[in-house]
Symmetry: C2
């Protein structure tokens, strides 16, 4: 089984590759991995099969065709530039997040017409396809009215994915990821970074800044669950999904206050004391327009699962990123 | 005031041009009209200003740029290939219905960046952006999960329109048109054609075939109201609309049986007797997946209006297409 991952140098791409190497896919061994990103992805450790790690610009002519020439059985299309960059650089955002995806879909369609090729394609979408005003919880049938170019590009790719799947060119499924929390690594400048920072940093004895009130409610899942969504999407029976191929994933709706209470339970008062409140009106306003939580009824019925509490999310982080120690 | 209409040779384009010539736009005189389509549009009669009638392929390189070089104040973008053709000819559908629209939007964006140009752009979308299963009535916040490539292309253009408007490149508004009834002209092969045929033909003493049961419910508006939507969209204050720029228009939800009862009231038993029932399972199945009706709360609040009864729709047809005679 040959698997292609775009965006393979990113956090999710690396974790999906590692999981495939560890577990295979649906009981089948992974014999080949093609990992692509704008920088050379690292090959996952302990993989005995063939691995091609490529640094390519997915938006360049002929690249999608070249990737599909290898006829991967499963494609995880995770590559994207992030929200802030897509908003600031309009043309680059559309080129990478929309045109590259369409190039990939078109290369698959041409291969399908040539020889009946029909891979499983798992697309990483985002709750950014939703835009305020948003109800809580957001039903599966709620409209996509994004308020960013990034969200617009993801919503367009969702529509293309459903149409190409309906025509039988590939077997696609779009996964609307919640905000990933706790994001490993170091604090970054994303406006949403604090959701992870206020847990990850205190867990290793470092301070973290909280720019919003405790009452802010948002929609989270762990990196571990996000990888689980991807693997399940790659292996599930899509016959049960029908033509509506884009699914809001399950997750955990929690306020910042509830995050902090979970930190207190798992890591104690000393960890909580490392959170410094520095209210930021701009970030608070942005957060108030983000998705507070989803029903995710269809995805749950289709077997997607996520954490029930922030205690679990914190413990998953300790196990997966801190070797179980703190 | 200079106005550009794409798809100007179509039924709606011709009627919009005629209305502009008759009434101007928001009290301003129309001094120039650019009418484009794949065939040369006819100039509206009685127009003293400058009119350019062009037969162009909107998807050809440089065409959008050329149209925008004239800096039209208002653009009615109505051009599209129809649902059946877009479904059968995948590449052509995406080229005309998506890429041509994006070319037009991009030409406007470049002009905006060059000199601050920012026209009003009215886009003809469709209830085909919705896909079964559909509730009745469909709320304004219902998701767009089209089941045709045509609907997919319209839904994508809606997303682009909202994003380009949000960035300030133009002042766009997308109008989700109900099925137009009574469509003037001769019976065509569109699966939805019977909704008009069973009224238009008996009104002039001709027979018509009804392929579905009387219980089929659908969403209609007259050509007159559709023109009214376009004119209102071109002149209304968009400040009240906010970032959600695509609106499901008001219309009339009616069963086929209710259509026939209205025909009986307006034109008598002899007209109704000209309807011949020839049930067609395929057409019936298609109809059952179409939109039965919308709440259209936002559009009504923003001043869009449509008929309250099929009697009104039939009378509008008699006035507008049959010189008030029958």
């Amino acid at each position: 089984m040959h698997i292609l991952i775009t965006g393979a140098a990113g956090m999710l791409g690396r974790k999906v590759a590692a999981r495939l190497v560890r577990d295979g896919l649906a009981g089948r061994e992974v014999s080949g991995l093609t990992l692509v990103d704008v920088i050379v992805p690292e090959p996952p450790s302990g993989f005995p099969g063939r691995v091609d790690c490529l640094a390519v610009d997915l938006s360049a002519d002929g690249i999608a065709q070249r990737l599909i020439d290898g006829r991967p059985d499963v494609i995880f299309h995770l590559a994207a530039i992030v929200s802030g960059e897509a908003e600031a650089e309009f043309e680059k955002g559309y080129s990478i997040n929309l045109d590259s995806t369409r190039d990939l879909f078109e290369a698959i369609r041409r291969a399908h017409l040539a020889d009946g090729y029909r891979p499983r394609l798992v697309f990483a979408s985002s709750i950014a396809v939703m835009g305020a005003p948003l109800p809580y919880p957001i039903p599966d049938t709620f409209h996509t009215t994004p308020l960013t170019s990034y969200g617009t590009q993801k919503a367009i790719c969702e529509l293309l994915l459903a149409d190409y799947s309906r025509h039988g060119f590939f077997d696609g499924i779009g996964i609307r990821l919640p905000t990933i929390c706790i994001r490993p690594g170091t604090p970054n400048k994303a406006a949403s970074g604090f959701f992870s920072n206020i847990l990850r940093e205190p867990l290793v004895g470092k301070p973290a800044i909280l720019p919003v009130p405790d009452s802010i409610r948002h929609w989270h899942t762990s990196p571990r669950s996000a990888v689980g969504f991807m693997i399940h999407a790659a292996t599930m029976d899509l016959g049960a999904v029908g033509p509506q191929r884009n699914l809001s994933m399950p997750g955990l709706s929690a306020t910042v206050g509830e995050q902090i209470e979970a930190l207190r339970r798992v890591a104690g008062e000393s960890a909580v004391a490392l959170i410094r409140r520095e209210p930021d009106a701009t970030i608070t306003r942005m957060c108030e327009s983000w998705a507070p939580g989803f029903e995710a009824t269809r995805a749950r019925a289709l077997g997607f699962t996520a954490e029930d509490s922030f205690d679990q999310i914190i413990r998953a982080h300790i196990e997966d990123e801190l070797d179980g120690q703190r």
